[in-house]
Amino acid sequence: MPVMNYIQAVTQALKEEMTRDEKVFVLGEDVGVRGGVFRATDGLYEQFGEARVLDTPLAESAIAGVGIGAAMYGMRPVAEMQFVDFILPAVNQIISEAAKIRYRSNNDWSCPITIRAPYGGGVHGALYHSQSLESIFANQPGLKIVMPSTPYDVKGLLKAAIRDDDPVLFFEHKRAYRLIKGEVPTEDYTLPIGKADIKREGSDITVITYGLCVHFALQAAEKLEAEGISTHVLDLRTVYPLDEEAIIEAASKTGKVLLITEDNKEGSIIGQVSAIIAENCLFDLDAPIKRLAGPEVPSMPYAPTLEKEFMLNPDKVERAIRELAEF
């Protein structure tokens, strides 16, 4: 199996889906001639032409809204938001429209759109190019939110998102784009949206997380193995709606749970994960449900001292796991 990086898996999934289905097309700012500011759509313009790789005006509500219209017609648009931070002008289109179209029309209409956006910090992006904004959408039935951690998951889940008959938000960690590499089958495959994935089996501590933090957890687990601490790592992959079954199983398995997000803590995805555990397997727990998250500040600053203080990393994760092990 070829090894590729995270963003190459994005590009490959797009390319394969556009080849497979004429209804699939891409739209967004600078996605055409430029191939995207991160080059996620690199080569698509050349291969599929400007009608299917559409450079749009700088207007996110229109990018989402035009995509939604096309999806209602029966197309399979993949809209790119240049940074997840810039999805905010499109919130009304996503929550009032995409999420509710099937429900409000009693199943007469549907909205199979995929909206991709790079998120996350650690790239000197400062306040507005570093955010994790998934929790804004993670209370809206009708939506699904996918946040993969590996190139393998990226390809399988992005293809599944495009084929999904409902709107899917697909958030890609921009620091992972070139940092995270992995084996990706050349053949066509999809992975199930809504299913978490065990990234490492372990018996002492359960870590539940998603995105780049999965790698921090795996690195920490590796190190802690030597100390005799066995860490179980569950990758949520889909952060909305959550895979309750997998969460309950993983939490019950070790009885000691650490939840991790790069987002700030209050109101983040991991609060929901905690609530599921507290409601369903309280008596299997041997320790309080711990959360490791970004600090309660509006976003990640630019200065390296401040960015570093904000961002999680394998050391911080390792410390938190060890603490919990010692509880």
């Binding site: 229109a62 035009v66 219209g69 096309a70 017609y73 429900y103 409000r104 007469d108 209409w109």
Partner: protein, 330 residues
């Protein structure tokens, strides 16, 4: 002598009469809804009254077997012309399970019916504008020759989604018709507090498209403007902005009391220009409409509405269990 304007537009007498009939049907349904509301049978009404000419004139200018419409909540006339039946509308107003718009999930006026290419709409205003652009884009990609018509109020033309959608359509030269039904109020706010431009159609140039303002009480003027826009669109020449000027004859909705912000006299004056009257007069002067036809029409329409009301009133609400259905594809 009255000039035959509809013939000049390529409309037969029957078609002209059909426009009138549809306008009248819309008005009578609307009036019935108010009665039902005031007698406590339905909780909410939002009206088309005063805008029937614009709505029906526009719809008739389209290919109703092919084109898409994205109506807003007042567009009873548009959806009737596009094939939604009075019974279906009554089912929606009574919020019954058989309502094709939403199965009783949405408030009345939130139209949607896929088989008639009436695109489902929501309450937040103007979100439908980019949708219309997306549908036109899809049509262009698939080399179809339909157009999409999207309507909205003049107040709503101040939302960002109007601007973004119109500009997108302009750049891509998409077959969309943006129709502003300017009824001179956005709830309590007169157009002068909403808009600093003289005409909403003045905004068209900013999107590289033609803009035109027409008398919204004249179905033929609206027909002509929308027909030209549709022809342009089908020729690949891009979008147009059409503004129809009329007046909202009722309060904003059954929850509103318009006496707090406008005078009775103002409303009475506007009623003098009621399109139902003026178009009826026009057709009578040409002999297309007669006392006899009008009587028959009245009876026919009353029966349709009575039957629809009876049926809808007795029809079942959606079963509580269905609450959980259709969040995602099943």
């Amino acid at each position: 002598m009255t000039e035959n304007r509809h013939e000049a537009l390529g409309l037969s007498d029957d078609q002209a009469l059909d426009i009138y009939r549809t306008m009248l049907l819309a008005r009578r349904i609307d009036e019935r809804l108010w009665l039902l509301n005031r007698s406590g049978k339905i909780p909410f009404v939002i009206s088309c009254q005063g805008q029937e000419a614009a709505q029906v004139g526009a719809a008739f200018a389209l290919d109703r077997d092919k084109d898409y419409v994205l109506p807003y909540y007042r567009d009873l006339g548009v959806v009737l012309a596009f094939g939604m039946t009075p019974l279906e509308l009554m089912l929606s107003n009574f919020a019954k399970a058989e309502d094709p718009n939403s199965g009783g999930r949405q408030m009345p006026g939130h139209f949607g019916q896929k088989k008639n290419r009436i695109v489902t709409g929501s309450s937040p205003v103007t979100t439908q504008v980019p949708h219309a652009v997306g549908i036109a884009l899809a049509g262009k990609m698939e080399k179809k020759d339909f157009v999409s018509l999207v309507t909205f109020g003049e107040g709503s033309s101040n939302q960002g989604d109007f601007h973004e959608g119109a500009n997108f359509a302009g750049v891509q030269k998409l077959p969309v018709i943006f129709m502003v039904e300017n009824n001179q109020y956005a709830i309590s706010m007169p157009a002068s507090k909403q808009l600093a431009c003289e005409k909403v159609s003045d905004r068209a140039i900013g999107y590289g498209m033609p803009g035109i303002t027409v008398d919204g009480n004249d179905p033929l003027a609206v027909y002509q403007a929308v027909k030209e826009a549709a022809d342009r669109a089908r020729r690949g020449e891009g979008p147009s902005l059409v503004e129809t000027i009329s007046y909202r004859l009722t309060p904003h909705s059954s929850d509103d009391d318009d006496r707090s912000y406008r005078s009775k006299e103002e409303v009475e004056t506007a009623k003098q220009k009621d399109s139902i009257k003026s178009f009826s007069t026009y057709l009578r002067e040409l002999g297309v409409l007669t006392e006899e036809i009008e009587d028959k029409l009245d009876q026919e329409i009353r029966k349709i509405i009575d039957d629809a009301t009876d049926y809808a009133e007795k029809a079942a609400y959606a079963d509580p269990d269905t609450l959980f259905k259709h969040v995602y594809a099943e």
